[in-house]
Subunit: 207 residues, 2 copies
Amino acid sequence: MKKINIYQVSTLALGAAFIILAYTKTSSDKAMETSKKEAVVEAIHSRKSVRKYISRPVSKDDLLTLIKAGMAAPTAKNAQPWAFIALSERRTLDMLADGMPYGKMLKAAPSAIVVCGNLEKDAGGNLWMLDCSAAAQNILLAAEALGLGAVWATAYPYNDRMAAVAKALELPEHIVPLCVIPVGYPEGNESPKNKWKEENVKWEKWS
Amino acid sequence: MKKINIYQVSTLALGAAFIILAYTKTSSDKAMETSKKEAVVEAIHSRKSVRKYISRPVSKDDLLTLIKAGMAAPTAKNAQPWAFIALSERRTLDMLADGMPYGKMLKAAPSAIVVCGNLEKDAGGNLWMLDCSAAAQNILLAAEALGLGAVWATAYPYNDRMAAVAKALELPEHIVPLCVIPVGYPEGNESPKNKWKEENVKWEKWS
């Protein structure tokens, strides 16, 4: 019987290992391609209203990432009729919590972003509130992607809430708060609502 | 001089190849983790208004993926005051194109999704238009993720456009079109607008 050389064995072993590794790398590359598409749809579906946060602060960089995401939303006639105010001061967050009937979660939130319409830049017919809503949705999705929890706390169309926010942030008259978005690291395991209803889809026309 | 065995050479070569492959696989795994987060923020920033499409049809499955993304948006008081109508019939798309002054791109679009408010489900104060705007933004982002081109063609608040859409789709009175979103595979290379403006960000309060 021919003597087996150590290098023959290692060639075989390494060859096998190489093939296995190459195979897993190819599949993980494919998965990455797919995951880029799926990550977006996944984030849209896993976004949820988060109202409880741990005390860990949110960095200014992350708040800016959220605001930049907001500013990437489309606006009618490219009017960009908006302003974004980032808050991390306890006193201001508490003032908002006290002034908004459904804003109690702000007491525990380390930060918030207030999405406002700028009436001086509005393209007409209250288009600002559509544009700002699209921006708010971008912020909520970016928060989900960053592992942050957030929720749309309604200011507009309630005059008392809008007045409370305007007072706390010293807003001029042409700057109108649409919503306050508390932002923090989630404490618990809030889950997304399943709002899929087939009855809300029609094909080609209404009936 | 000692004779070099072929298996010694192949062991060395395979060993080196193995190390290189293992290294690139580790980095691509790390990149995948990061990319899941980044893919979302990236999609938000790469979404653009696409008004030119090739003739390739959009599948019913893809249209449904977009509508499901829309229905994952948050709504005030969980009212879900919306309805989504998917169109692929040439005649209807052309009727919309003719009825909407800025809707000419619908002539070339293979499909469209019309985002409507359901006034019977509105939680009050026109909240439907905020909820439906968030839903429309989800649809635009999901389209971007799927490699589709789309654009928010404004219907609300223009009575003539809303009437044209309502007529083409035979909408009942309580169903109000917010926007028409043509959907197709992009023909060209439309780029996203950079709308970042530092002046639109404030920290802690207005002034």
